[in-house]
Amino acid sequence: MGISSGFVHPSGAGFRCGAGWVRVWVAVDREIRRPCLLQLRMLLCLSRGLLEGPSVIEVSGVTHHFGVGPVLRDVSFAVPTGRTLAILGPNGRGKTTLLKLMAGLLSPAFGQVRIDGVLRRSSVEAELAIRAKTYFLPADAWFPPTITGREYILAVGETWRVPILRLFEHTDQLLELFQLKDISNSLISSYSTGQKRKLALCAALASEANILLLDEPFSGGLDPAGLTAIRHILRRLPRRSERTVVLTSPVPELIEQIADDVLILDKGQIQRYATIPEIIASCGASTFDEALRQLIFPETEDALVRYFEHEVNR
């Protein structure tokens, strides 16, 4: 049995075996997930683990750089079906790049991205099949300005080949849920920033894609009603319909409510990939917010203290 490469996940590990991936679920200490010991540890896992199907997204050894600035360095992880993964990290550390690589809008300089076990961009047919399963929502979504919101959602659904009757029904439900029904027949160019964001989220949900890649879904001027709607949908969607969601967001409270797993990127590398309780426990923190401050922005609290000391002296 030739094992060529592996990946890590908070709840287990996997390795490449012949044509497919084998994931091994383990309930062991965190040491087992150290990439440097991965191959050896995985063999150990095999003896006590439970064999499962392949992960839906597999990123292995991905390195990417713009010009001379490396953005991602040897990033490997896997996302199992029906999970919600939140990618966190300081600004400009590769979160959006990683999402774009998963969405196929960028090709990694090194490494591979597989969706449902199929290598991205390996053939035209495979790529189109992957695209049908995936919906990427960028932070600044593109809209055709001269069509209405309803037409936009319907066009997206048709492009993703959603049966038309179900699409009509779902579109109405989404428009009502996000309070866009009144303006659904107005031109998109007349929408506010928040309404456009809601419309983009509606379109993403209307596509019924199995994998949602959402870049900053909570930003862009969403009102409390919109935030509540998308938070509840994202919390229930993966569990009810086995869909996988990968998102980026800077808001820890929302992440805590939605995400199953958290991947923290720093300087282009995975700093931590674990479930939220594990992250809180590993940092010895009382809340997820506190744990994130320790992990991602340890210098911010010191800087704040220094700043206010100066304020007092002035």
Partner: protein, 411 residues
């Protein structure tokens, strides 16, 4: 009309504005005729109600132009946001584009037909006296021709705008389309010179639908290639699978970072010609051949010299835009280092362009070569020198003692 087809039309408010404008124009013209017709006829004054009534025809043509602009705006080849959206979607090039058609469609006959009918009816009502002569005394063919040409004016306007607009998009994908345009312009110029301006105008009008047909065909082909093709150049150092081009666009961190990139930085146009050398050479030769179509006179030589200078300057600026000389001119004077061979090699191709191109032009001016041969030879030779001579950009940028533009880096 289907919902999909309506998506490529201007907003409904535009239609309302158009209808109101036509109705108001007609009402105004009618009111003027009813009020002042006797005075006008009595004093044999020019009928200004006629001019106002015919203004509706202008409105119809403007409406057709708007339709053409909106249709061209729906083309994913023109809109990088649309293209990126499509690149992440399961859309296939052979399918209809998601947000409405991007090319003329058979259903366009409906609005264009309506506009044509408005034109014809207005021409008959308001231009009755002017058309009477033709309609009463002209042949059947003549009557049919004039009415048909009036009815087709909106269609020609629609197609003309679409063809012009799509040309710029097509040039990115198929550079030789530009050559085709040059040939066609040459034909029209010669038509005007030899046969008269009326024939030339007719040729221009006929050329609109004639060009629209191959454009439709090429657009379909380009759209079929679109799901796997990028408007942007591949990321430096990226490894494609060979089956599809890279969708990524290099993020511009700073010019300095790009110049320092291990794989070297190349301006897009230089990279395009390097990677498509055969296509570039054939296009240049075709361009030269097209130049031979024009009826050049010796009086055009100063202008052609200017063109050569501009081409040489453009070539130079593309190269030294970000990679400046390590010593400025005053510094060279101060250090008495007039030539820095590793850097100054970049000036040679531009100088060759002027010398070789200019020499061939002068041969024409001196009568040693006929002008129809001298001009195309000069243009082709200058362009070939520009693209083929000199060191490769990446090689030069990585080995020459260049200085980066401090102002650009600060930005």
């Amino acid at each position: 009309m289907t919902a999909w087809h309506r998506m490529s039309y201007p907003p409904r408010a535009w239609f309302v504005v158009f209808v109101i404008a036509v109705v108001l124009t007609d009402l105004l013209a009618g009111a003027l005729w009813l009020s002042f017709s006797k005075v006008l006829v009595e004093f044999q004054l020019k009928r200004f109600d006629l001019a106002i009534g015919l203004f509706s025809i202008v409105l119809c043509i403007v409406a057709a132009i708007a339709l053409g602009v909106f249709r061209a705006m729906r083309c994913p080849l023109r809109d990088s946001g649309y293209h990126e959206w499509l690149a992440a979607s399961p859309w296939e090039g052979c399918e209809k584009t998601p947000f409405g058609p991007c090319a003329p469609h058979r259903l366009d006959c409906v609005p264009l037909g309506v506009l044509g009918l408005i034109c014809v009816s207005h021409a008959l009502v308001f231009g009755y006296s002017e058309l009477t002569t033709i309609i009463l005394w002209g042949s059947w063919n003549g009557r049919l021709a004039i009415l048909l040409s009036i009815a087709l004016m909106p269609t020609f306007a629609f197609l003309g705008v679409w063809v012009l607009s799509i040309t710029s998009a097509m040039l990115q994908w198929r550079a030789w389309v530009g050559i085709l345009q040059s040939w066609w312009v040459a034909v029209i110029v010669h038509t005007g010179v030899w046969l008269g301006k009326e024939i030339c105008l007719a040729a221009i009008v006929v050329s609109v639908p004639v060009l629209a047909v191959p454009y439709l065909f090429w657009l379909q082909r380009a759209l079929r290639e679109l799901p796997g093709k990028s408007l942007a150049m591949p990321v430096a150092g990226s490894r494609g699978t060979g089956l599809m081009n890279d969708m990524g666009m290099a993020k511009k961190l700073s010019p300095e970072n790009q110049c320092l990139s291990p794989s070297g930085y190349e301006p897009m146009i230089v990279r395009y010609f390097r990677e498509n050398r055969t296509s570039a050479i054939s296009n240049i030769l075709l361009l030269g051949a097209c130049a031979g179509w024009f009826p050049w006179e010796k009086s055009a030589i100063p202008g052609l010299w200017m063109l050569l200078m501009i081409l040489a300057m453009v070539r130079l600026l593309i190269h030294i835009d970000r990679l400046h000389s390590p010593l400025s001119l005053p510094a060279r004077w101060a250090t008495r280092r007039w030539i820095i061979p590793a850097y100054d090699v970049v000036f040679l191709p531009s100088m060759l362009m002027i010398v070789v191109g200019g020499l061939l032009l002068q041969l024409g001016a001196w009568g040693l070569l006929p002008m129809w041969l001298a001009v195309p030879l000069s243009v082709s030779a200058a362009c070939l020198m520009g693209f083929l001579s000199g060191r490769r950009y990446v090689e030069w940028s990585l080995t020459a003692p260049v200085a980066y533009d401090v102002r650009q880096v600060r930005k």
